[in-house]
Symmetry: C2
Subunit: 387 residues, 2 copies
Amino acid sequence: MKFDFTYYNPTKIYFGRTAIDNLAPELEKYGENVLLVYGKASIKKIGLYDKVMEILSDCGKKVVELSGIKSNPTYAQMMEGARLVRENNVDLILAVGGGSVIDCSKGISVSAYCYGDPWERYWINGEQVDNRIVPVASILTMAGTGSEMNGGSVITNEDKMLKNGRVFGPEVYPKFSLLNPEYTVSVPKYQMVSGVFDIMSHLMEQYFSGDDDNTTDYLIEGVLDSLINATRKALKDPEDYEARSNIMWCATLGLNTVTGLSKTQDWEVHMIEHQVGAYTDCAHGVGLAIVSVPYYKHIYKYGIDKFVRYAKKVWGVDTDSMTKEEAALAGIERLAEFIREMGIPTTLREIGASEEMLPLIANSTVLGGGYKILDAQEILDILKECY
Amino acid sequence: MKFDFTYYNPTKIYFGRTAIDNLAPELEKYGENVLLVYGKASIKKIGLYDKVMEILSDCGKKVVELSGIKSNPTYAQMMEGARLVRENNVDLILAVGGGSVIDCSKGISVSAYCYGDPWERYWINGEQVDNRIVPVASILTMAGTGSEMNGGSVITNEDKMLKNGRVFGPEVYPKFSLLNPEYTVSVPKYQMVSGVFDIMSHLMEQYFSGDDDNTTDYLIEGVLDSLINATRKALKDPEDYEARSNIMWCATLGLNTVTGLSKTQDWEVHMIEHQVGAYTDCAHGVGLAIVSVPYYKHIYKYGIDKFVRYAKKVWGVDTDSMTKEEAALAGIERLAEFIREMGIPTTLREIGASEEMLPLIANSTVLGGGYKILDAQEILDILKECY
């Protein structure tokens, strides 16, 4: 571990089949006005909406609702939520859904009492939050983003065709998150594997950086190993509670900052996908999967030892008999095979991108990287390879 | 993951060479009266005592000192600290040292305003703390116990010849802990390897339980892998900062509850060692190492699949060509080899135990276990095997 770090994560996690039993005691700690944020009908289908409304009512809460949060939550929805918070003097924002709903809720939390335009100040300029922050809590129904235990908030500004992420400090983290893996069982396969790849990408984008001996890398290898095993089980039997629970916990561990400590990290795959998402509105993890294979083939030479280690430790490739080049590529090929095994699309064409979009996506992508800092031309090359 | 769990760990960690820079800003959050708790002269030798006193003085704190905390901190020392807290209206207990000093400080924290005898109420009867808790913070100088980020407090009652551990809730966890691996460089080899084995034992005692597919087990495998690699580097070059930093962070991860989530856990090795320690005052990790090999040879049959996995994943044993029995024993043998490689004693005789002590230790050990619940006779057999 080369770099100094601070680790502080005060989100309280209630995990398991009985997680919901902790909602009422937690609600007692907050005032009476609750903004309930959710997406589409899915939380109604599994009975969670009724259950939550019943508990809120039993606890004497006044509930305002903001529903229809999109899978890429928009600036407009966030500002609508901010207005509701102000008008109803909301004491707690309760997000019920996946990462999009929680991301949007954090955005509402910091925007409601913001002086000036929160998009410009917090998402574009990265300013410190200097206004009142409304507490957020979550009930998670999809495994993927890790938003349930961090300060991340990715918002899409439709007018500007930009999807930007901001990582806020612990004061914006959910105060508590309820994680019941049973809620994820009804998630369709396409959404499930999208979530799984989002988790993998978080782990890989933290892993593929640096040349130091770092305990964090060993942790990531462990979480990836568990995630791959659990995903294979969940693909065979979507109702395998144990597999679903491992996927859910891997998602949280994948981005609750513990798997990034003392790492410089990469995140360029996410930067590219953000713009793919802004143009195609694709499922986040699917966009990541499409971009990842050509991306890693493009950069592996600059961090080859780590790619050899990845092949060996994560995929069990027998690297001893190979050159470094062969070993690194074998690891990336195993990743590509796993993407196909999950049934995830492998081209941008399949998710509705047009050829004309590629330069627009490349030119609007925030440039960065781990082992190699890319320019817009290289990003365009990568996009063409997976078109 | 079979079992529901709650995860909440609000300790703030400042890690790295500049960790001490965070002391002054943190101290501002507390009142002016500080109880400084430490052990022997070692923190003076490395200049840490002077540095801390200077910062405390610059922050306008009134400091009371409690020094000479033993490696097995005693009930008498804890009660002396509790008296100092009451008499000086202490606002913050600052522990500077290893796990013993932090454990003692947590004990002081809950005992100062306890109604009745804290030993009976909290360590023997396991009652909930219902009195004022004085905040604790720590500056860690030895890697091992993980006490810097949990609620554990192991105290030795010399009059009763009992060494008992109590795990308190997050309200007793250190508010913040400063972890600078440089402080551990001056720790003598014997203390270092004792700390390393304490970490290994924490990880193994959480690992060796259950038959479910559990993300936590994969995490433990990652941390053990990193710990073993880092220890070998630190044995070669005690001043290897990176190795020392990995060992330090493995120690924290090893017992900050994340590596025990959804696990039934074992802890019988710790229970046996506590009584070995009460009778011999040995270094904690050394006692654990001596007991572990015969203990695991005694119980492996009851959880054989996990021991096969341990051999393969942690030690890289090629288990495919072996029977389960052979593979499990090969893993335990690798553990025994690593103990010898670290130069840790392997018999109770070497740490000053007499043959007469063995039945006394066996009969006073708290009975429990992971794959097998032991009785006192079995514990005596184990003690005889490593006498």
